[in-house]
Symmetry: C3
Subunit: 269 residues, 3 copies
């Protein structure tokens, strides 16, 4: 029924082991809403966050960071300049970078910014929800969102964009789809409270940059990040009363999660 997948639970566990063994330095050019939460998620899992997002330093830092996240949640002229410089610097330095095109399709300026950045250097991974990915794939934005509501339609759009961009595309949702145009990984851990905490998707993008810094296969990196976050969420939900306690427990679980548990609990296909 499913396409054959070369990504196994053991691959994901190995990726988490690699991250813990060699904690990556992750440069985040992200938004004012989730910057603190994103840093805490990275610290909890064992990575080292650095929110260097001004034009004077962003390019310089992208050459020494292990991975770079560019998140378009609250872009300004000043930080958008920093994004251009950081992305440009990843290319000669060979630094993997992740694009999180928040609200692409719904707002013209940032959609254009996302497209420009993708043109300046191929993103290693693009992470978004179905409508954001559709917008980047040249879909008709909000008008066409309904058409990707089914998981299979989202998967097809992701494949198209992966081929077009030569990037790994990760579509977040109740089932997460990750593809490089050939392989398609489906992950289905997680809990509805993930949608009641701001910045979970944004933090997932940062985790992908962290894993991409330590794992050469970007499909494995994106899948390991997704599995780590959502398997930890499964445990966190069991000990929580609502989204407040859940977000706090999620940080604890990200710290406690062992590679063997990740391999055991992940629902992958």
């Amino acid at each position: 029924m499913h396409e054959p997948s070369t990504v196994t639970p053991a691959n994901l566990a190995d990726a988490l082991t690699a991250l813990r063994d060699r904690p990556p330095l992750v440069q985040c050019l992200t938004n004012i809403v989730v910057a603190g939460w994103t840093a805490n998620v990275l610290l909890a899992v064992g990575a080292a966050p650095a929110m260097v997002d001004n034009p004077h330093e962003a390019g310089e830092f992208a050459t020494i960071a292990g991975g770079v996240l560019v998140n378009l949640g609250t872009p300004y002229d000043d930080t958008a300049r920093a994004m251009h410089l950081a992305v440009a610097a990843t290319k000669p330095a060979g630094t993997p970078w992740v694009l999180d095109p928040v609200a692409a399709g719904a707002l013209a300026w940032r959609t254009s910014l996302a497209q420009q950045l993708m043109g300046e250097a191929r993103p290693t991974i693009v992470r978004g929800n179905a409508s954001e990915i559709l917008a980047l794939a040249g879909g008709s934005g909000g008008r066409g969102v309904e058409s990707v509501d089914s998981p299979e339609a989202a998967a097809q759009v992701a494949k198209d964009l992966a081929e077009q961009q030569q990037s790994v595309i990760a579509v977040s949702g109740p089932t997460d789809h990750i593809t490089d145009g050939e392989r398609m990984v489906r992950l289905s851990n997680g809990h509805p409270w993930l949608t009641r905490v701001t910045g979970v998707g944004c933090a997932l993008g940062a985790l992908m940059a962290a894993f991409a810094a330590v794992v050469p296969d970007a499909v494995v990196a994106a899948a390991a990040a997704t599995a780590t976050l959502t398997v930890a969420a499964d445990s966190a939900a069991q000990m929580s009363r609502g989204p407040g306690t859940f977000a706090v427990a999620l940080l604890d679980e990200l710290t406690c999660l062992e590679p063997a548990q990740l391999a055991e609990r992940v629902r992958i296909s």
Copy 2:
């Protein structure tokens, strides 16, 4: 003793039901301190936050948002421009907007900014503490703060500003006062720890924008937001050890709170 009030506990419960039935999209132009917390409060109660606060997109988005919050906590030239554009766009679009004039009266630049914004489009609701409201009413700022320390004096200043601005004025304090110049609603739920968590007042302004998106009567919207937050705070305080656990429990309680419980527990007069 009290003025007759046309706002009943049932009105507040109906407002919460309306918000849950039709989750409003709330555009927040707010500050770097509370942006994440504000988004989490909106998500917890059931609304959809969108922190679109750059000049390229703020006006465009104010025409599609259900409600707009403008909070002056950490204004910059860039975000102040976005505020002007968002406020201007609310007028033809008919989008309700809430002004939270943080520290008005204490600092000249933002006091002037608040007054300009009020002149550009009538705010649906202005929410602040007594001294901020006094400053907007043309009071002598810090010098006159002591004079509004009594709840009745604060109520009078709120009435004056409501008549002058044709806006609903909400004065936060141990007792919250909400008035449109004719009606005066007093609410007295809450807990002292609300003053030990940053951004509770800021999040209250955002909740008012959320309720104003689903309830036509702005007095009811402001009262429903206040009652929802403070009734949830009553429950949260009972299960907390201090302001840290209290803030977390408050998010849980905002999610759990049912309209019937709100009507039963609110202390309104």
Copy 3:
């Protein structure tokens, strides 16, 4: 074995009593990652935070604040201008100010900014980790970091910078070192989870500005801030499962901590 210290546990307890008796207004020019967390730490301990960091108001506010924090976590052109204006205003106003030179030595622009600010007005306290302090002392930055890994080497660098700058220097680490060039205070409370929560060091800088507002001896102020945070952390760690619950419990403990407990539990030499 240890140098004689004039700072006693009783001094630290008295400082906490003073802070609770006269809650200081602390202006924070800090970064987008930790602004909310810093405000919550200040509120929890009993101080009043005000994040006034735009060029129109920062200088004006530095004349009325009890203490000023300048933290270089995410500087932009706009907020860097505000930092220059705030620091310049502290001098005639006599407002104590704390410099937290985040990532100084690793990034050229902010290292230069830190040095400029120190030249414009003598900071009351400079707080950083060993490599940041070394960079400000004219060390060779990243290249020389290894050389200050030993506590004694860090202490020596701190002494040198204290003499050079006529500021109190606080070097954070498993053991915290605080010196004015003559006295050297060592504090050794705390827990490894402090390094898994973003902004603990940043919040410590803000606490130092709060204590400096109420205590004339800046060595005592820096030591009281450090002891308050790390003694509270000892208690918080005992009731936590990981960094998420730890950060929440830390806020509770900062509120609950009594001066007598601080004096009893602090490990000072």
